[in-house]
Symmetry: C2
Subunit: 577 residues, 2 copies
């Protein structure tokens, strides 16, 4: 297919753009295969808007008869812009073109397949966080406990798992294959994280017990093998008891205590799918209504339930972390498919427990391991966002959900509560949010590793990590207040401790410039500090050299030297990167 | 009266203290004339609590039969502590003692009359912000427009005004005396602030028009005199139209357009008195319930209306600031008595308009001018706070109100929105909150200047400013991100721009340690920066001296010198203080 067929109006003059925090811009609209571009050529005030079609979540046509009309474009990054077009024909053509381009389903037509970076790639993000390197230390140092399994190398045992997974050494591949058959979608229990004390975090999908409470000895053996003798573990089910119960009639189910006597089951429900998306939609509706009263705003915030979802999620993640850290007990987390709420919980528990996850590379690795390689189907979940109308072909359906955004928001909440414990700033979280919905990079294309292999993403597109890990880019996402903290950090989940992530949800509504200035000031102070230390050290060396020369030449005796150099003040907390 | 009569139990061993963020402390309770002291003498973990009786807002007795009982002490600084006492007799005696001491009415028995500082007073805060110095520049530079008036030197014209006020030059004292008779409590229109362009902000109480719409030519002449020829001004009434109307039946009223044709009246209502205190009580009830659900917390936050009061107040202050700055029009603000909502608006308008008010001394001067000298009756308004039960002798009544706290919260909101525009940190606002309710200093004693003179506060007590303006104390309240900004700053009043002041309302509920660490890191970076610059400069000088010597001695020629010293990087934004 040619993009040209879809583009009814490639170029149009005299289009007026209205956007947040800007004066209206009168300019030329260009529609290309991947971008909507509006540029004003006014001398001295060139303004340019580049918008990926895939970023468009909803288009509202507001025709105005013979005068043309206004096109309201609502983006997945929450921005809302408006284009005024002064011809009725062009109005329809532009609207139709954008609608068509925004709803292209074929992934290989997406921009990442066309994007070529202008910079050399120093480190290929596609190979930066492979399981064999991520877990190599664990598998080597705990060689009697853990091993790599390659049973899924052709994705036949579990289509949504990566080709390499970490499983208990004492369990052979045959057992795993049988256990996989007992779990929805073949998502058998795999290692997610091993905590310092040796307690482990595993995740899976629900067991397919069905109405007759079928059991599977191999599944039992697989998970029992991670418990020490006499030890008990926890199974955290992210569904309500009722939901777990009704799942049985559809072939699913939960672990019966009779069959898993070493495990204690706890239901810790987290909402999922369209309930989350509806919640986000309500939240954003409230955020975008800057003329509302305080009462109305607060009541909308409450009725959106978004903050409650954050609280529930953090609550569950804290429970998991407590089991692992304070009870030294191993935990298996699952809900139904184990691709949404499950990942939310296992990834957040690691942010709480594992200081590595609070570094830039650690967060990247976590997103790779627990979201991308774990098979969270980004292209499906993020096909539409909160502005898309409900139902219809281009509307939002039951399979779309902002689960990953909920994860990022929870990390943000912990970041707010522990502002010095993260190497990255919250801007990195916002970047991940944006790219997970629409991007020039291929990282969030593909629903799972099998899909990414099929699409040849590693060969045909650039990884977000290749871009992000370039030193100058990385630098701009560092937290100048970072003071590495090796402890477990326990976020407060009291409702008043959790606050709306204004830097994200309100960024197109409330001007963030003064906050950005404050952030820049702190960053500059940190950089300045480094620079000054360097200068002072260099000066001191020059002085010492010259003194030595002067003493050798006899024009100076050691006693004539000025006071010994004072020691430079120690650096403030730890230096960043 | 002797304190000894009130103290039934001066000392008691084996009392257990429970407080926020601390383990229970078993220690000795001492009750002195002004303090409740609890100290544990355990080797290595001495803990001491010193609490001013005047800080106690409410005491809840929880007797437990023969075992004694628990005393819950709720403080005006929002802290809640509990004392467990293991004897029923002592339980009653301690409770009675604290109740008596906490409700002493006589101001001269308060701690400020007994407190003697351990440090030399470098600058007397009592004379630091007198009207004659505060307005001296204005009266000199605008000598044809403004003059000091001493008609109130014996507080006979207006008992709640200071002895010196600034009035228009063209209006004589006789006119003012007549106008004062026409305003409630004699609070005639006085100058509050003159904006750059010449527009002025005045404040007063309501005119006593009564049901017959009485007029007063002198009052009209007084306020008309500040308008330029053909210019119009605004009268901002902080009451609803209805409230202003009903005030007429009680002798009060508002300026009829027929009599004040040059002025446009606008009603911009702000709540006052017990409505504000009830609002704060509800807010704090919500804040202290850390076990509530998210829904319940948000719904309590909404129903408390506290955030709405902030919005209304900022809204009104912004309107006043707009009139002054953007329309260049003068403004008169009043409600009924002109001692609460009026001061809230005139002081906040200055924070928005006048960069001086965003410095430490400027804020102190603002609090002096617009609150203390303007006669906000602190001892009455702050006699009880949000924890005191409603009604009764020791309960809260109609005359108590957290108006000043609302002011501080609004400043905090602007501070959050413009984090680099204030020389002080929000900790200064919290300090002002605390001392305005209970303090070792005399600043917030006395309902007005006449009262302060009567109590001889300047001779018999220490001023808060004497303490605060000592360099080492001041240092700890500076904002390391301060970048002086001479512009007017326009806060957003959209409801989602305003957030709960967690550093204040949640400080005994949510642990603030990580936030304080972040703040300390920034402060250290700033200080470190200064120190390093100093060191580098000194090293460079030593090097230059030695080079000169070496050249003179002939062991060095200028061409042999190392690369010329690079310029030190410029300081980050402006240096603080």
């Amino acid at each position: 297919m040619e993009f040209a067929e879809l583009i009814l109006t490639p170029k149009l003059d005299g289009v007026v753009l209205h956007g947040p925090f800007m004066k209206p811009v009168d300019g030329t609209l260009c529609i290309t295969g991947h971008h909507l571009i509006l540029s004003s050529r006014k001398e001295g005030e060139e303004e340019e808007l580049w918008l990926l079609h895939h970023n468009v979540d909803a288009i509202v046509r507001k025709p105005n008869g013979e005068l043309g009309g206004s096109l309201v474009i609502k983006c997945k990054d929450f921005r809302i812009i408006q284009l005024d077009i002064n011809s009725p024909e062009e109005f329809v053509k532009v609207a139709t073109s954008i609608e068509r381009l925004a709803s292209l389903e074929e992934p290989t037509l997406r921009y990442p397949f066309f994007y070529r970076p202008m910079y050399p790639i120093l480190e290929d993000g596609w190979t930066a966080f492979r399981p064999e390197t991520e877990f190599s230390q664990l598998v080597t140092s705990q060689a009697d406990e853990w091993r790599f399994s390659y049973i899924n190398k052709d994705f036949s045992v579990c289509p949504t798992y990566p080709s390499i997974v970490v499983v208990p050494k004492s369990v052979d591949d045959e057992t795993i294959i049988v256990a996989a058959n007992f779990r929805e979608g073949g998502r058998f229990p795999v290692l997610s994280y091993r905590h310092e004390g040796g307690s482990v975090l595993m995740r899976s999908s629900q067991p397919m017990t069905g109405p007759s409470s079928r059991r599977c000895k191999e599944d039992e053996r697989l998970i029992n093998s991670v418990l020490g003798p006499g030890k008990r573990g926890y199974i955290i089910d992210t569904r309500t008891q009722t939901l777990a119960q009704t799942a049985k009639s559809r072939g699913g189910g939960f672990e019966l205590e009779a069959h898993y006597p070493q495990w204690r089951r706890v239901n810790k429900p987290i909402e999922r799918h369209h309930v989350l998306l509806d919640s986000l939609a309500k939240l954003m509706e409230g955020c975008n209504d800057s003329l509302s009263t305080m009462d109305r705003w607060l009541s909308r915030l409450e009725s959106s339930n978004w903050m409650s979802h954050i609280k529930d999620t953090l609550n569950c993640a804290c429970l998991v972390a407590q089991c692992l850290d304070q009870e030294g007990a191993s935990v298996l987390v699952h809900g139904s498919e184990g691709m949404d709420a499950t990942l939310l919980v296992t990834s957040l528990a690691q942010v709480i427990l594992n200081p590595d996850c609070r570094t830039v590379r650690g967060l990247e690795a976590l997103v790779e391991r627990e979201w991308l390689q774990a098979g969270h189907p980004f292209p499906i979940r993020h096909a539409r966002s909160c502005y898309a109308p409900t139902g219809g072909i281009s509307g939002r359906g039951k399979s779309q959900a902002p689960t990953f955004l909920l994860f990022l928001d929870c990390v943000n909440q912990i970041h707010q509560q522990f502002p010095c414990s993260f190497e990255f700033s919250i801007h990195l979280l916002i970047l991940l949010f944006e790219h997970s919905y629409s991007s020039q990079f291929g990282t969030f294309l593909g629903t799972c590793e099998a899909d990414r292999v099929r699409l040849k993403l590693a060969d045909r597109t650039v990884s977000l990590w290749s871009y992000l890990n370039r030193p100058d880019v990385l630098q701009s996402f560092l937290n100048p207040m970072y003071d590495p903290n090796n402890r477990v950090i326990w976020p407060s989940v009291a409702p008043m401790s959790l606050t709306l992530w204004s830097e994200l949800y309100l960024r197109w509504v409330v001007d963030q410039t003064p906050q950005q200035e404050a952030w820049r000031t702190i960053t500059e102070l940190r950089e300045h500090d480094k620079e000054l230390r360097l200068k002072a050290t260099r000066l001191r060396r020059q002085l010492a050299d010259l003194e030595k020369e002067a003493i050798e030449a006899g024009i100076l005796t050691p006693s004539m030297l000025p006071q010994p150099q004072e020691v430079l003040p120690p650096p403030v907390s730890a230096e960043v990167a």
